[in-house]
């Protein structure tokens, strides 16, 4: 059963696409204010896992709990669940036909029903906190990739979610733009936001995560505190993966 401080819990989650089983029984328990980083090779199921949590994908077996409440039951209000979870993808996040400000306020006005002026004031404050206030009247294509991803994070934050999911948000960025995004994420972690982060950025994961989960072939093969995983991985597959990462100079 759920612990009192469990923010997110996955029990035996299976997910297949057609005949291909991507998630083969994932068990995960994320506590309040915890930062969990998912690492693993491409195709290991990281993105799928995150998309299952916010119900973009329907799982084939298992259960998912958000703060003790089962969100995978048949009669759940999907839109209500998604309001409580913020997610940022690798690319194509922002709505290109709206200004930055409108991107941020669309959901707070239409979904939360806030009056326009209030929503805009809150959005501007949030953008200012992350150094993007001067861009609020711009269209996304005028922003750098790093700025776009930061706005995407702000947009998710504006909904005041209980949980943030970040799906390789820096993987598509030019290297010099990665740092500004990572610093935003770090700031959120310091402020106590519960987060599950899929990432390739190993140094970042090492510094910021409370726990690392290594995903391999649709299961969490190994998990533990960052130091432990990176210096003394138990599983051979984990070791192989980390060796490759080190060899590629990414750690």
């Amino acid at each position: 059963m759920s612990t009192s401080a469990s923010a997110l819990k996955l029990e035996g989650v299976h997910k297949s696409f057609g005949s291909v089983e991507v998630l083969r029984g994932v068990d995960l328990d994320v506590g309040e204010h915890e930062v969990v980083c998912l690492i693993g090779a491409s195709g290991s199921g990281k993105s799928t896992l995150l998309r299952c949590v916010n119900l973009l994908e329907r799982i084939n077996a298992g259960r998912i709990f958000l703060r003790g409440e089962e969100i995978t039951r048949r009669d759940v209000d999907v839109n209500a669940v998604r309001r409580r979870i913020g997610i940022v993808f690798q690319a194509f996040n922002l709505f290109p036909h709206m200004t930055v400000l409108r991107n941020v306020t669309l959901a707070t006005t239409r979904v939360l029903g806030k009056p326009r002026a209030e929503a805009e004031a809150e959005a501007t404050a949030l953008l200012e906190r992350f150094g993007l206030a001067d861009k609020r009247a711009e269209y996304p294509d005028r922003l750098s990739g790093g700025q776009q991803q930061r706005v995407a994070i702000v947009r998710a934050l504006a909904m005041q979610p209980e949980l943030m999911l970040l799906d390789e948000v820096t993987s598509a960025l030019d290297p010099e733009l990665v740092a500004e995004v990572l610093s935003v994420i770090r700031e959120l972690a310091d402020a106590g936001m519960t987060m599950v982060i899929a990432t390739h950025e190993m140094s970042f994961a090492r510094d910021t995560a409370n726990r690392i989960c290594f995903l391999d072939a649709g299961r969490i093969l190994e998990q533990g505190p960052a130091e432990e995983i990176f210096t003394h991985p138990r599983e051979p597959r984990t070791q192989q993966f980390l060796e490759r990462i080190i060899a590629a100079g990414r750690l």
Binding site: F89, F92, P96, V111, P140, R142
Partner: protein, 284 residues
């Protein structure tokens, strides 16, 4: 990124006029153009039947005599296609949205949308106008208008909405699925996602084919004449029949061309203006 806008303009210019750097290249382009058209004109003008054709198609006096009445009748065409287009843009969007509704419960609506587009893209427009224009009033249903203009416009709306619905559908499907994912993830409902995120982007993407269909509609406004109203083409046909001379048709052709050219340039301008807003972008 203002450099992008500049490059955009420069790109467009060079696409139409070619690489025209240097006075020498311009001189060559001009000369070859003049020679090309001069050859065509000379071949036509020196052909054996030219005097007869010129008399039958390009009679100056008849042109200026028939033009005012034809231009006045053209106002009816304008009324027809403006009203029709407004209705088409809305109705076709409804059909396209219907087509995309998910889930087994809504299958009948999807089926309806498919049948509709198949039916009205299949039947020739002329037949639809005849069937509705003469057939519907003959049913003598109470409350149903009898006016040929009403049925003519209705027929055009039904037919063109089928084509435009497919254009919208292509636009909707071309929007990156992550856009829908991002919108739904924020808690927006399916309807809100369509309305605020998908459709606005979809429409911007299909402006060229939309305007293309509009230009086609303008010509098809002449078909309403089949069931009685005198629009520009019919008016010119009356003059042609009265004089046994085809010059009035040239007047009608000219009016349609004068209408189409600004619209084509408007399309170009709209595309260029929206190019700024197109890229949703990953990292740059």
């Amino acid at each position: 990124m203002s450099a992008d806008a500049e490059t955009g303009r420069g790109d467009r210019r060079s696409r139409i006029l070619g690489d025209l750097r240097g006075a020498r290249n311009i001189g060559i382009a001009v000369t070859s153009t003049v020679v090309f058209f001069a050859v065509i004109v000379v071949v036509i003008v020196t052909s054996a039947g030219w005097p007869e054709v010129r008399k039958a198609f390009f009679d100056r006096k008849l042109f200026s005599d028939s033009f005012p009445e034809i231009a006045h009748a053209f106002l009816l065409n304008i009324r027809i296609f403006c009203i029709a287009e407004a209705l088409i843009l809305v109705f076709a969007l409804a059909i396209a949205v219907l087509r995309g509704l998910p889930g087994p419960v809504l299958f009948p609506f999807r089926l309806l949308a498919v049948l509709y587009t198949d039916l009205f893209r299949g039947i020739p427009t002329i037949l639809v106008i005849y069937i509705l224009g003469f057939g519907a009033p003959a049913l003598q249903l109470s409350g149903v208008p009898n006016s040929p203009l009403f049925w003519g416009v209705t027929a055009l709306v039904l037919v063109y909405s089928a084509y435009v619905a497919e254009v919208y559908r292509a636009g909707i499907e071309s929007v990156h699925p992550s856009q829908e994912a991002a919108a739904r993830s924020l808690g927006l409902t399916r309807g809100q996602t369509l309305r605020y995120v998908i459709v606005p982007q979809a429409v911007r993407r299909v402006i060229p084919p939309l305007l293309n269909d509009f230009i086609g509609l303008q010509k098809d406004s002449a078909l309403v004449a089949l069931i009685g109203p005198i629009e520009a083409f019919r008016q010119s046909q009356i003059d042609v029949a009265a004089t046994f001379n085809y010059t009035p048709y040239m007047a009608t052709a000219l009016l349609f061309i004068l209408l189409t050219i600004p619209l084509a340039r408007l399309t170009d301008w709209l595309i260029a203006r929206d190019r700024r807003r197109q890229s949703g972008g990953g990292g740059r």
